[in-house]
């Protein structure tokens, strides 16, 4: 167990507006360890963005405390907080680059804020632009770059201030799948090479599967589930978490069948011909509606959705069989 670099204690944030109060996040307790790539997943409006802004106090929690590296930042003076924020980089969905500055001057910006000399700042900036593979674009302006390139500049800008933590607020949501993959790859490298703890806010399970080692599920401002990504993928406990995990197979609801079961298996269980065995044993064929393999946190995980026969007795037996085999098996119901 590593040390908790980020710790939230009973954090709540309420926005008051003319129409009354809106509780964006409610009583959140969370620990994120050094070196983690921690995903916070939820549907839009779940309070993810508010929660991540509580980590650097862009939003001040109405209740609770936020500890960074063991220090309560909610009691810090503005000056102290400014210095602390240099330790917490943040990238955004819409990149938020300075449009009137060159790529190079965007990367030197945090160094200017920190009071470094222009010459020193430029030297560092070029180095970090090399890290993200954009050194040749240093004299370009953000408007001349693609979305993926802009996010790379934003990442170089974060690296320039040598942070301990990187917050990603839907950092890949405006990018196409290919670019998303390469940006996630870059974030993974940064986590590994610089030992930067990463917090990723997303509404896409695929992002979490691709890169995170731990995950928390946020729903209507409540933290409803947390654990490793494997745990969540194999056996999501709450309805909301299921919705997120199964989102990619949701189109199956359009296939007519009364009962379905979702089976998850890893390399160890893949030796046994389970489907074949079950068909032979129960003398009833099963229909595979969906099958997929993906890498989660470095391990191959398979996922299958099977249609269960209409005969209730046989169907129940099949469910028991899968559960017996210790596979992540769960009946899923796509009827909304």
């Amino acid at each position: 167990m590593g040390e908790a670099i980020i710790r939230l204690e009973n954090v709540s944030k309420t926005f008051s507006s003319g129409q009354g109060n809106v509780e964006a996040v409610r009583n959140i307790n969370l620990e994120i360890e050094k070196g983690d790539i921690f995903g916070i997943i939820g549907l839009s409006g779940a309070g993810k963005s508010t929660l991540v802004r509580c980590l650097n106090l862009l939003e001040r929690p109405t209740e609770g405390r936020v500890f960074i590296g063991g220090k309560d930042i909610t009691v810090m003076k503005p000056k102290e907080l400014s210095i602390l924020r240099r330790d917490i980089g943040m990238i955004f969905q819409h990149f938020n680059l300075l449009m009137q500055r060159t790529v190079l001057d965007n990367v030197t910006f945090p160094l200017e804020i920190a009071g470094e000399s222009k010459k020193e700042a430029r030297k560092k900036a070029v180095k970090f632009l090399e890290t993200v593979g954009l050194a040749e674009k240093k004299e370009a302006y953000p408007a001349q770059l693609s979305g993926g390139q802009k996010q790379r500049v934003a990442i170089a800008r974060v690296l320039a201030s040598d942070p301990r933590i990187l917050l990603c607020d839907e950092a890949t949501s405006a990018l196409d799948p290919q670019t998303t993959k390469s940006i996630l790859e870059l974030i993974k490298d940064i986590n590994r090479n610089y030992g930067i703890t990463v917090v990723i806010i997303t509404h896409e399970m695929s992002v979490v599967q691709e890169i995170c080692n731990k995950v928390a599920v946020l729903d209507h401002g409540n933290l409803i589930e947390k654990g490793t990504v494997e745990e969540l993928f194999r056996s999501p406990k709450t309805e909301e978490a299921k919705k997120l995990v199964f989102s990619e197979t949701a189109h199956i609801r359009h296939m007519h069948s009364s009962r379905q079961i979702r089976v998850v298996f890893d390399g160890k269980s893949a030796f046994e011909p389970i489907i074949g065995n079950i068909t032979l044993e129960l003398k009833t064929p099963v229909n595979i509606l969906y099958a997929n393999t993906q890498t989660i946190n470095g391990n191959a995980e398979g996922e299958m959705i099977l249609q269960l026969p209409d005969n209730k007795e046989i169907a129940d037996k099949m469910v028991d069989y899968f559960k017996e085999k210790n596979l992540g098996a769960e009946e899923v119901n796509y009827v909304d």
């Binding site: 503005p78 924020r85 300075l98 910006f109 408007a143």
Partner: protein, 220 residues
């Protein structure tokens, strides 16, 4: 067609107008730019909301803006006397022009700055930038093209006001147009003055837009 004396008078008027407008625009921004920034920053959506200060500045700006310029000219005579020593002539025109232009400039600055993408401000805050750094390096720097368009508009407006000042003894082409054109009905003086004024506005309009466009890096 024109006597040498008349030509010299018109050129003299042109020169006075240029001086009046440049100096007034300059001092208008000395007052209006900080005022506009303050309005944008202390607004409830700004980076340092301050409802009381905003309200006060808002009311002062509105009151000054709503006094017709020709009235303001008269009302400000004591102030003008106190600053430049007399209430007529080129220098005396500048005082009421600055007072009239400043709140108008402040409003334009305010709206230019409010156009700056909130996300960029947030990014700067996340890097630990203080309020002053955000004002100078983010707000003003990112809004610069819009601010320059504002300068162009301010220039044209002040030029128009300066002609009005001519009616109460100010200098410049406007004053010539009113005295010779209106009071004495001498069209051969009136029309060149008017045409030169129009050309002047056009020239600065084109120049301002060109500079602002050249400075804009948001286009590829």
């Amino acid at each position: 067609m024109w006597t040498e004396q008349e030509i010299l008078m018109i050129l003299q008027g042109l020169w006075e107008t240029v001086i009046i407008v440049f100096v007034s625009t300059f001092f208008g921004y000395i007052l209006g730019l900080p005022l506009g920034v303050l309005l944008a920053v202390t607004d409830s959506e700004g980076i340092k909301p301050h409802p009381m200060l905003y309200k006060v500045l808002d009311v002062v700006t509105n009151v000054l803006r709503s006094v017709p310029f020709i009235i303001l000219l008269v009302v400000l005579i004591p102030l003008t006397r106190a600053i430049v020593g007399k209430s007529y002539g080129t220098a005396a025109t500048i005082v009421p022009l600055v007072i009239a232009a400043a709140p108008f400039i402040a409003r334009m600055v305010e709206s230019s700055i409010k156009e700056v993408d909130h996300g960029v401000i947030e990014a700067a805050q996340s890097m630990g930038a203080g309020t002053m750094t955000i004002v100078t390096k983010v707000l003003v720097a990112e809004a610069r093209t819009s601010l320059l368009v504002g300068v162009t508009i301010a220039f044209g407006t002040i030029l128009g006001y300066s002609a009005m000042a001519g009616a109460v003894g100010g200098g410049g082409l406007g004053s010539i147009a009113i005295r010779y054109g209106y009071n004495r009905w001498q069209p051969h003086i009136l029309w060149p003055s008017v045409i030169i004024l129009v050309l002047l506005v056009q020239l600065f309009q084109i120049l301002g837009m060109k500079i602002s466009k050249n400075l804009d890096r948001r286009r590829t």
